[in-house]
Each structure stands twice: as C-alpha cells, then as structure tokens.
C-alpha cells in the first residue's frame, strides 16, 4: 500500500545514530572523568575489555539473524577456557594443542546445540538454556570447584601482550592496501555492469572514513603500548563476521531463514544445515573468546564467563538486531559491544558502585530498544 514511502536506508541511518550515541557517551565520560577517558591508555584498556564480548556478539549476531538464540555462550566460554587451562597446566599437552582443543570444544558444543535445534526440532532457547546449566556443571566438574592457574607465559600473551609499534604500522599499511583493493574492485565491476553512477571519487570518499579510522586507531594504540593482541584477534573475528554475513551465500541464507523460514525452505535452501553451521561458528568464536578471557585473567575459575551470554545478546540488540530474526549487522553488534564496554569502563572510572552499574546498564538496554521501536513506528 501507499504507506511505505521512500526512506533513506534505515540501516545506514541506524549506523549514524549509533556512532552518534557512542560519541555522546565518550564525550560525557571524557568530561566527567577529567579527561581520563579518551587517553590512549584508557582506550587501549577499553578495547581490550570489549574484545571478549565483541567476539561473542559477532557469533551471536549471526545466530540471532537466523531467528535463533544462544543462552549458553557464557558457560561454553567457561568450559572451553577450563579445557585450555586443564590441558595446559594439569595434562601439560603443550601450548598449541591446548589452544586447538579449546576452540575445537567450543565448535563441537555449537555443533551439538545446532543439531539438537535444527534436526530434533527443540527450540534453540531450550537447547541452550539446558546448555547453560550443563556446561557450567562441566566447568565445575573439570576444575573440581577450584581455580586452575596458568604459568605458561606464551599462553598469557594471547590476552596480555601488545604488538610493537612497527608491527602496528605494517598492519595499518596492509589494511589500507586492502581497502584500496576493495575500492578498485568495486569501481571496476560497477563499470563492467554499468551500474548507476559509481565514480572513483565517490568510492574514495566512501573509503576515506575507514581509512582514516585505521590510521587514527593505530596511532592512538601505538602512543600507549601498541595494539593489544586481544583487540587484534577481535578485529580479525569481526572481519570474518562481516565477510560471512555480507559476501557469502551462507550469510544471505541466514537472513532469508530468519526473515521467512518457509520461503527460504521453498527456495531450496537447507535451513537445517545452515542452522547447524551458524551454531558451530558461534561455538568456534566462543572458544577463541575463551582463550583471550582465560589468558587475560591468567587462570580458569569455576564462574568464568557467567552472564557473558547476556552481554553478547545485549550488544546485538543495541546494535539493531531483531530477536525475531532477519535483521542485524556484524558492525552494529560490534558497536553495541563497544557501547556496553564504554559504559562499564566509564562507570568504573567514575567509581559508580557495582549494583548501580548493573541498574544503569539494564535500563540503557531497555531504553535503547524502546527508542528503536519508537523510531521504526514513526519513520
């Protein structure tokens, strides 16, 4: 009907709004912390803090887009981390096998959850609610209720070390080269298929923002101790997430399944297989996040990762994902995670009491979604 006029792309609009909100939060904290918040040191901390939630949120986003949910990632993170710590410190199998084992365990659990959801028709909510209990129980069983410390310095480096300044700039150069390549490819293929007015300058303008962001980011990180390794891993996972969701048939199928499962099935898509895949990917990401988490803390504790699933889901939702499926972007989830981490970090700097932090974060989550719904209705 005539009710739908031409709107500017709502996704683009939403991205601008989220950057605006983030800028506001940062400005406020910078002002209220007497200019501590936006120092290189704090920004490096902030990014390191967000890396675990960010990685989980990227996997969670894909699951949510397919109209599923995973409540178990906190427990799975704890379990994968415990497996890494146990195999490293107790079984002493060596660094690389421990890392591989942790990721493999995450993937296997994701595969199991996906299979139960897709092929046994148990709702993901139930499967992963069960998983939340089962894998938390698994952690306690494996660790015997104790905290297992890690002595291996190279393992701890995953969570605690930084890239040298030179390595940082090499990375920046590679990223910029990548951007230029993407730009050229876009222009060339647009010319080949005579698309609507894509000029070199327009593409250059579009890439100017990410390019300057990369340079500023590396410069800021290098002016403290260099790019933290967890942040590097997070950025790598984000790149994989963006690639999977926007550049592959698999990603396209996820949006179709979440948007209209029946239409997807009748279009010849194997919905079940896609769901198993997406849970397995989330599992792998959870394993990676577990390594960072365990390495940062330097030990594996029975309660490691508790409530992390809610942070991840909140990041996705703040980033514009719909729990009904079919909507959401990896970039949005990352910004959502950054907003959540900024709140944590800023409130800690301000010495806001623990309980108050929870109350504020909870309220912001609900308010963000409320505003989003309001905006959608009045768009």
């Amino acid at each position: 009907m005539a009710e739908n006029e031409n709107k500017p792309s709502t996704a683009t609009l939403r991205a601008y709004v989220m950057f605006g909100v983030l800028a506001l939060i940062w400005a406020y904290f910078h002002w209220s912390t007497d200019s501590i918040f936006l120092t290189p040191r704090n920004l490096a901390n902030l990014m390191t803090q967000m890396s675990v939630t960010g990685i989980l949120a990227i996997g969670m986003l894909m699951v949510i887009v397919s109209a599923n949910i995973d409540l178990s990632v906190g427990s799975v993170l704890g379990f994968s981390g415990a497996v890494a710590a146990y195999s490293l410190s107790v079984l002493d199998v060596g660094l690389v096998p421990s890392i591989a084992l942790s990721i493999l365990i995450g993937m296997s659990i994701g595969f199991l959850h996906g299979t139960l959801t897709a092929y046994f028709n148990i709702p993901a909510f139930i499967v992963t609610l069960g998983g939340l209990l089962v894998w938390r129980g698994g952690v306690k069983w494996l660790l015997g209720g104790n905290t297992v410390p890690i002595a291996d310095e190279s393992f701890k480096a995953i969570g605690q070390s930084n890239l040298s300044a030179t390595a940082g700039w090499i990375l920046a150069a590679l990223a910029l080269a990548g951007l230029v390549a993407i730009g050229f490819r876009a222009v060339r293929s647009a010319r080949k298929h005579s698309a609507e007015g894509v000029s070199l300058s327009a593409v250059a303008l579009k890439l100017a923002f990410p390019a300057s962001a990369i340079v500023i980011f590396i410069a800021v990180m290098n002016s403290y101790q260099g790019v933290p390794v967890p942040v590097l891993i997070f950025l790598g996972v984000a790149l994989v997430g963006v690639f999977l969701t926007t550049q592959t048939t698999f990603g396209r199928y996820l949006y179709a399944i979440g948007g209209n499962a029946e239409a997807a099935r009748l279009s010849g898509i194997n919905n079940r297989l896609s769901i198993v895949k997406v849970f397995t990917i989330l599992g792998a990401f959870t394993g990676i996040a577990a390594l960072i988490f365990t390495a940062r803390v330097g030990s594996s504790a029975p309660d490691a990762g508790t409530l992390k699933e809610l942070d991840a889901i909140a990041a996705c939702v703040i980033g514009g994902a719909s729990l009904m499926g079919g909507r959401g972007t990896v970039i949005g989830a990352c910004i959502g995670a950054l907003i959540m981490a900024s709140l944590d970090n800023g409130m800690s700097l301000l010495n806001v009491r623990d309980f108050m932090q929870d109350i504020i974060k909870g309220s912001i989550l609900v308010a963000a979604v409320g505003l989003d719904m309001y905006g959608r209705r009045h768009a």
Binding site: A2, E3, E5, K192, G259
Partner: protein, 502 residues
C-alpha cells in the same frame, strides 16, 4: 439520511497522500462495493472508518446516523456499530470458535467466565448463519471459508450495523462464496449496511447496489450498479480502457516436459490421503490448469511434486522424459521444477530483504562464485529480471515489503524464472493483486508458454483457469475427477466435476 457518511477524508503518510478528499455514503440495507487498484486507498479508508487510525490522524468527518463520530480506537468504532473483517483474518488459531467470537467480551461475572452461556450463545450465532460447527472446536481445525463466517458471526454478536468486508472471497470456494452471499443478502434485509471491497468484479456486480471507485486516493465516483458496466468500472479504476482480459496465447505444444504417475500424499500423522493417485503430464509450451474446490488437494499436489510436502508421499516423476527423485525443494530446483507458491508473504518472500536478494534466493549459486557472492553479477541479473518482468521500484535495492502486491508477485515469479525451469508451477498467481497487474501476469504466463515453458496453473478463480489453460484437470477429494481440453472446459462442466455432480 444515510447510515454512514464520510466526507473529504484525507490522510497522508509522510509525503505520500494515501487518501485525498474521499467521500463515501452508505445507506442502511445497502450493499456498497468499493473498488480500485492496489494502493488506491481502499484499505486505508477502511482503517480510518474502523478507528485503526485514530481521529485526529486524518482530515475529514465521519457521520453515523448524522452524528459526528471521533473514533480513537477500534473499540470506539465497534461500539458505534462498525465491524471490519480484514483480508488477513484476526482470529486466534488455538482458541475455540466460541472463545474467538466473544474474545474481549466474554460473558463473565467478576472476571469468571460463564462458559455455558458463551458456548450456547456462540452456537446460536453460528446456527443463524447456517454454520453447523461445534463452537468448542479450535479455529485451526476449520477451513478458511468457515473461519471467515466465524468472523462474521463475531461481528454480528457485536450488533454491527456497518459490516466491512475486505476481499472476503479471495480464499473461498464457489460454494463457500454462495453461502457468504446468502448470508450477506439476509443481513441486508435486516438493515445492515455492507461495505464490500473486492477485485472480483463479477461478485461486485452480482451483489452491489452501488459501487464507489477509488483511484490514487481520490473518489472517481459512486455509481448505481445496474446503470454502469464492468468495462466502465475497470476504466475508472485504471484510468484507461482495458481490452481483452485474457490475451490469446499461441498454443503450440511440444514434447512432454513433466510427467507424474500415481502421486499420493498423506497428511502428517494421519492415514487420510490428501492427494490420491494423481497422474498427469504437461507438454512444453502448454498451460495445464488445475481446478478444484478448497480442500480438493490442489496446493497439496503441487507441494508434493515440489518435494515440500512434509507428510508421507509416493509416486513417480519424470522431467523431460527422465525419471527423477524429488525429495526436497532443492532436488526440484535442480531438476528444473519451479514453484510460484500461493500466499507470497507467507511462502514466497523475505519481506525485510531487497528485491535483489529475493530474486536471486532460489538460484544464488548461479550468480555466485561458489561460496562467494558476486555483487556485480547478482545486481545485473536482478536488474535484467526487473526489466523483463516490468517490476516497478526505485532500484533493485528497494525493500520488497514496500512494494505493491502486483510487484511483489512479479518478484516471486522472477525468483523462479531465474532458476531456468523446465516446468513452472503457479499456485494462485494473481490473488490479491489489482486488475492492471493481473493482466500483466496473464500476459507473462502466455509469453512464457510461448517461449516453451511447461506451466501448471492452480487457481481458485475459475475464469482465470478457463481463460489461460490449454487443458484443465479437475480435482475432487484428492483425485482427478475429470480432464477437459480448452473447448470443453466450460464453467459448468468444471464446477460439476469439482463438486462431483458429473
């Protein structure tokens, strides 16, 4: 004094004027049809009248019995005697007939429901409508036609004086339509004013006292039904003269493209066969129509052949003479079978996604490099499809949910043509789309057949089946009841076979 007057109604959404000075007047005991293409403003006008859009969100006045009305909610309009039956029924599928009729108005003392009275009243209401159903039966056990009658019973239980029906017969069989019309005629004699929105001009002329035509949010005019003609109404709706509703296709049939033998399907967990030993074939360039009443197994047959039936099934299929196994839609697509499903919003489209993403959904591998999407190639394919099907939209990146029904239907058609099929199944390809778009789809169907595609057409609109098909297969209770070639396929013959009176 007219029962209902709507004067100078105007409503806009952002910059779009949905209604622009619409005037409507309905008398007590009048059957008043509103016609117009999709997007003409019919549904918006009815939402204004029924309080879906509250007073203040539109301009103009509404009077009932000469009294100015300001509806803030649907409840206000119901209290004033306005009842609307939407295109998409608003019943709760898991609840019983009685619970649905009295939803929100349960006979209760201090919040405790008097179930005895509720079911007794529900039973009386349904019997008055000539419905013999147990009011304790859940709605999802009823057919769509019966559900519609339950909606009407619900409206009557609220002493509706103005009854609005939005495309009520879209999903009904001929006999259900007859029942509905009989009931509406009876309501007229009780003084109920009926506002009837429909694309089916035969029905409009059969039942109406007056016809109001809307176009682009404006009233073209109100006419006495017996003093105007179908041609004049169509011209008023589209703003131009429309020739031949069914263009003559050049029927040159070739080799057998698709053949199925002894196809049967059982409903999940039931012994009953919904499709019972059906066999047929279609040749290249041929349009085979499948007619039958609701529940005769038409859609179920297509679902089974497409590998999408979720119950037990059996039978053999040959495509281009080669035996194939089709146990999933993926197999079907691979073997050259495409299926434009009914109910595009439910089965056909991902409404939140772009035209491009929907068009390529069933054939994404073709425009991709394996696992990797190829955006340029995909866009080019989507644009080509939009041009050849004349899909009207700002760009291939437009969201499908924002398109009109006709354009949405073309996107579904385009999606399946992109799979380069040998045989194309069409299930209700023109339901709920306007006259202009219908004609375009008919022309496309004929063109595709002329290009050598074998087409199987299922439709509950008999004129459509008769007008397009080279041959007509009639199903009754899941079995082939009769087969007619074009010359013998008259409405009388087909209906007789479909109702097993042959």
């Amino acid at each position: 004094m007219p029962l209902l007057e709507m004067n100078a109604i105007a409503k806009h959404f952002g910059a779009t004027r949905a209604l622009d000075g619409v005037t409507l007047s309905v008398d007590a005991g009048e059957f008043h049809a509103i016609v117009g293409e999709n997007g003409a403003g019919k549904s918006t006008l009815m939402k204004v009248l029924s309080g879906v859009y509250p007073a203040g969100s539109f301009a103009g006045e509404i009077k009932i019995d000469g009294q100015q009305q300001r509806f803030r909610t649907v409840r206000d309009s119901e209290a004033a005697g306005v009842a609307i039956i939407f295109q998409e029924l608003s019943l709760v599928p898991e609840m019983s007939v009685g619970e649905n009729i009295f939803l929100g108005r349960e006979p209760a003392t201090l919040g405790v429901i008097n179930w005895h009275k509720l079911y007794a009243d529900a039973s009386k209401l349904t019997r008055d409508l000539g419905l013999s159903i147990d009011p304790r039966l859940p709605i999802n056990r009823l057919g769509i036609g019966q559900q519609q009658l339950v909606e009407i019973a619900k409206a009557l239980s609220q002493d509706a004086r103005i009854l609005i029906l939005d495309e009520p017969t879209a999903a009904l069989t001929e006999s259900e339509v007859e029942t509905l019309f009989r009931i509406l005629a009876a309501l007229k004699t009780r003084g109920v004013g009926i506002i009837y929105i429909s694309h089916k001009l035969n029905e409009v002329f059969q039942m109406s006292d007056r016809i109001t035509i809307l176009r682009d949010g404006k009233t073209v005019g109100t006419f006495d039904a017996d003093r105007t003609s179908k041609e004049a109404v169509i011209a008023g709706m589209v703003g131009r003269e429309v020739s031949d509703v069914f263009p003559e296709g050049a029927s040159k049939s070739g080799d057998i493209a698709f053949e199925c033998t002894a196809i049967s399907a059982h409903r999940l967990g039931e012994g009953r066969k919904v499709v019972d030993e059906v066999s047929f074939n279609v040749r290249k360039g041929e349009i085979l129509g499948i007619a039958g009443l609701m529940g005769s197994g038409r859609s179920e047959l297509l679902m089974t052949l497409f590998g999408a039936w979720q119950g037990r099934r059996s039978g053999q299929i040959r495509v281009s003479g080669k035996p194939v196994t089709i146990s999933s839609p993926k197999d079907a697509i691979k073997n050259g079978v495409a299926f434009v499903t009914e109910d595009r919003k439910r089965y056909g489209l991902v409404l939140d996604q772009t035209i491009k993403a929907n068009l390529t959904l069933a054939s994404l591998k073709r425009t991709s490099d394996g696992f990797l999407l190829n955006p340029a190639r995909e866009s080019a394919a989507a644009r080509a499809s939009m041009t050849s099907l004349r899909i009207k939209a700002p760009s291939a990146e437009s969201i499908v949910g924002d398109l009109s029904g006709g354009n949405q239907q073309k996107v579904v058609l385009g999606k399946w043509l992109m799979t380069e099929p040998t045989v194309l199944f069409l299930d209700e390809p023109t339901r709920g789309i306007d006259v202009g778009a219908k004609q375009e789809i008919y022309a496309m169907i004929n063109r595709l057949a002329a290009e050598g595609l074998a087409i199987v057409l299922v439709s509950s609109e008999l004129p459509e089946v008769l007008g397009l098909s080279d041959r007509v297969l009639v199903l009754h209770n899941g079995r082939v009841a009769a087969e007619f070639n074009k010359n013998d396929a008259t409405a009388e013959n087909v209906m007789a076979a479909a109702t097993a009176n042959a």
